[in-house]
Amino acid sequence: MIEPVSGDPAIEVRDLRKRYGEFEAVRGIDITVARGEVFALLGPNGAGKTTTVEILEGYRARSDGEVSVLGEDPAKRSLRLRRRIGIVLQSGGIYSYVTPREALRHWASFYPHARDVDEVLDLAGLREAADVRSRRLSGGQLRRLDFALAIVGDPELMFLDEPTTGFDPQARRAAWDTVRSLRELGKTILLTTHYLEEAQTLADRVAIVKDGRVLAIGPPRELGVGAAHYRISYRNSAGELVERDTDDPTALLHELTAEALARGERLEELSVGRPTLEDVYLELTAADA
């Protein structure tokens, strides 16, 4: 279990709301991200993840609530704050006629303590493509350039909005390695994703978001465990799958098996398991939940 790092949090959000006309995309979100933490907003498309992140990045004004990013209000869009954050947009383009090296040099000039361009090219896996004009880069290389441009300013806090959407499994694993190496550099990372595995693999803590609200929040393993620590499932005599959640599986098993034996039945497909993050996620985000 990961304890939150002490000190001022990197991000603090209280009762955040965002309305687009009649539609309320974000309906009272509360999250706190500690420094050095990798925090994931996990949820289906249209859950309000991108809206939330774009408010934190300073792209959008909030309708209501309190937001603090590295101690500042991002809506003020101060240069000081923008020098301390790095942003990987869901779909951010780049000039067609510049190379990754040129783009990184240009971007590096915006920041007071930029990282070495060659080092960033290596970190992002772009050494081979460093001098190829971006219109000739592959989709995967362009995404690596997104990462590179976001880290060249050596930010304390990074926002990754759906960083691996549309990736094949191999590219996804490469991107995960990059995120892990950023974490090792001590960066705080807020990422959004609709891939469970991604949240489970990368994040110290996950907030499950749906319809603009946080449904559950915590470390992935604890979230999976949730209120009920164990789940016992079996098929009853009618062939229906029965699932029972419990904190005390010994007692419940004893009860169930005693009843079954008394009736002279077998408990088909009997299993004792711990609900996974996937179970929790599917339950929480089910349409009728």
């Binding site: 947009l89 951010g92 240009h106 000039s109």
Partner: protein, 249 residues
Amino acid sequence: MPDAIALSWRQYRLERRMFWRNPSAAFFNFMLPLLILAGAGAALSGNQHQLNRLVPMIAGMSVMSTTFTALAYNVVFLRERGVLKRIRGTPLPTISYFAGVAANAVTNTALQIVIIDLAGKLLFGIGWPAHVDCLIVFVLVGVVCFAALGVAFAHAIPNFESTAAYVNAVFLPVVAVSFYAFDSSSAPGFVRTIADALPLKPLIQGLSAALVGGKGLGAHLDELAVLALWGVFGCHLAVRGFSWEQRRT
């Protein structure tokens, strides 16, 4: 703020580099006006009076195409591709970004005026610019005016695919009306009124005085005022409606 100035200069250098690497931009900016000048000039060969009118017309059209057309295209392209949004998320000061972009437009226009004037002189025997002060003032105000209008017009263009249609729907009629009213003394009154109220014909008149001769800057303050008014209007619209990102559908 020396930092903002240094970053403007960097942005300008990047814009220059990208301009020369984009073959279609270089072609439309430099070759097309020259080809039109050469073609029309050949047709009017021997008629010095007509040639003297042709050169400032082409020069005025070039100012409009390097600023209004080029910026409308660029802004829509960068907006739809997400480049503007990415820039918006960096600590590059907004003023530095636009200073670099504007300086790029001024450079392109200045280069083009020089090329057209040289071609006019070498091929068609027009003289050296008669009023350099008038030339500089009209080119600068013209660039600001049409560049601002180009950025402002980009707001009206919904996606990159329709940019050519939108831009030509403005560019071609403005050029046609302005050329007709400038060149033909028999143009109907309402055409002249329209052309005088639009920014291109006043620019051509100023360039005509500057390039081929006539009264100096002092005699063209009316035209300058029309151009400046359009510039103020364009700047207002450009700033007010500016969108850093694609519209959400």
